[in-house]
């Protein structure tokens, strides 16, 4: 990426837009052979980045426990009804 911004800072949708642009560029067929090889490789690279972005996060369901103005902790959240006690109540 020529862009100075880091991959993590560029949002998914911007990459998606780039990918759509690449499709258009290639479909127009105006590129030189060198350019189309480069563009194709960039497209493959971006689609890889996009997939990585989608898979980056891990599933996590936690509950916030506020213990004071500045203090807090988290604990796993159970979806079962009535199992959670709420400190603040």
């Amino acid at each position: 990426m020529k862009n100075k911004k880091k991959v993590e800072d560029i949002p998914f949708e911007e990459y998606l837009r780039k990918l759509e642009k690449i499709v258009n560029q290639l479909e127009e067929g105006e590129l030189t052979l060198d350019e189309s090889v480069k563009t194709y490789e960039e497209g493959m690279n971006i689609s890889k980045i996009c997939l990585e972005k989608l898979n980056k996060t891990k599933k996590k369901i936690e509950q916030l426990v506020i213990e004071g103005e500045e203090k807090y902790s988290t604990k796993p959240f159970s979806e079962k009804k009535g199992e959670n006690t709420i400190n603040e109540f």
């Binding site: 067929g29 052979l33 497209g43 996009c50 989608l54 996590k60 369901i61 506020i66 959670n84």
Partner: protein, 409 residues
């Protein structure tokens, strides 16, 4: 009494304009609420509403223009008790004063509703609802927080739907009261707390399931509205209700009719994203492949045309030159050959003395095999008994081989 010329004379329209100005500059006649009963209601085809508002002793003409009645959630009918908000002014054409209505509330709605309307108007004037200050939600959220009751259906719905749409999502549940007198303050505090300690949260969903106006009241309070407005983290309002909005809905960066809908609206469907990605990927591959094919074809056609313009053509021209040259050479050779043949013919008479007949004339003979007329030069050509002919100067002798004998010379 003939001195009317000395006092000022007004035209009717000037007078009405003057009176209209009086009305419009009187603060007591602007933005007022009037309680009354609707009668003679007419909805004109233009979309404007005309009616009369009356009580036991009196009545006033009212008009509600299309732009204002567009947001009405009920159709006024004759006999309906309502509270209307509007300005009193003059319809100059007829010289009649009337109420220009901006809002109608059914009178039965009560105090809470009026409080709601007052706060809504106040916050709107302050710019809290303005579209320009609304923050954009990230397209792919990674960490979201949900402020709601940890035991209600709302949190279960949000979690279930969110994970169904995007299975690897991080959700922080922030338990809070969502109804009762301290609920608004508590939710507001949680929003502030998250803003202070959780920089990486993409957005916060605040909400609860549906309920009566009283049950949803926390989401209509000013303290919560201000906390939503001040939040650096985008807020999604997800209060269950079918028709009316809450103040939170208006201030929030995104409003949704239920907690489930909030999850549907904010969490992208990972599967369709991946499908879309692979579609784009195959489009790119196909287009690139097609590009290469086009280029190859171009190269081929260029090299074809080069054959006519380039060095290859030069070479062919030389070939042709060589062909022509060699043809000329051939004909020259042929000519020379013919010339020599001619010469040889002329000399042939001279050569006659060398012919075999001349030799036979001198006493030599020729032996030939019968059949075949093969001239016999060596013994191996014949066997004993082979028939032969011997040619001499005036005829031939038929004979048979009696014996073969090698003569050494």
């Amino acid at each position: 009494m003939n001195n009317y010329t000395e006092s000022k004379i007004y035209s009717v329209s000037k007078l009405n304009k003057y009176i209209k100005n009086l009305f419009e500059n009187d603060f007591n006649l602007q933005e007022i609420w009037i309680l009354g009963e609707i009668s003679n209601f007419k909805l004109h085809s233009s979309g404007h509403m005309y009616f009369v508002l009356k009580d036991k002793e009196s009545q006033i003409r009212c008009v509600m223009f299309r732009g204002n009645n567009r947001n009405l959630r009920f159709m006024p009918v004759d006999g309906m008790k309502v509270k209307v908000r509007g300005d009193v002014s003059v319809y100059e054409k007829r010289g009649e004063y009337q109420l220009y209505v901006k809002e109608i509330i059914e009178a039965g709605k009560g105090e809470l509703y009026l409080a709601f309307e007052r706060l809504k108007a106040k916050l709107r004037d302050e710019g809290l609802f303005s579209e320009e200050v609304k923050k954009k939600l990230p397209f792919i959220p990674q960490n979201i927080a949900v402020i709601t009751s940890p035991t209600g259906a709302a949190i279960r719905d949000v979690i279930t739907i969110s994970l169904r749409r995007f299975p690897n999502l991080s959700i922080l549940v922030v338990p809070s009261l969502v109804q009762g007198t301290s609920a608004a303050q508590e939710i507001a505090k949680k929003i502030d707390f998250l803003n202070k300690h959780f920089k990486d949260i993409d957005f916060i969903i605040i909400g609860r399931g549906g309920g009566s106006l009283e049950e949803l009241w926390a989401f209509n309070e000013e303290i919560l509205a201000r906390s939503i407005y001040n939040s650096k983290i985008p807020i999604v309002s997800a209060v269950g209700h079918e028709t009316d909005f809450t103040i939170s809905d208006f201030v929030a960066d995104l409003r949704s009719p239920t907690p489930s809908a909030a999850a549907e609206m904010t969490i992208p469907d990972k599967n369709s994203l991946i499908n879309n990605l692979s579609l784009l990927k195959s489009k790119i591959t196909r287009a690139a492949k097609r590009n290469f094919e086009l280029k190859t074809e171009k190269i081929n056609s260029v090299s074809r045309s080069l054959k006519y313009q380039g060095p290859e053509n030069k070479i062919n021209q030389y070939y042709q030159y060589i062909d022509e040259f060699s043809a000329r050479l051939n004909s020259r050779i042929k000519y020379l050959v013919e010339l020599y043949e001619e010469r040889v013919k002329k000399d042939s008479q001279r050569l006659d003395s060398l012919s075999p007949w001349a030799v036979i004339e001198r006493g030599y003979s020729i032996c030939r095999k019968i059949p075949g007329r093969e001239i016999i030069k060596r013994l191996e050509q014949i066997e004993v008994g082979t028939k032969i002919e011997v040619i001499i100067s005036d005829g031939k002798i038929l004979s048979k081989v009696e014996k073969k004998e090698v003569v050494s010379n």
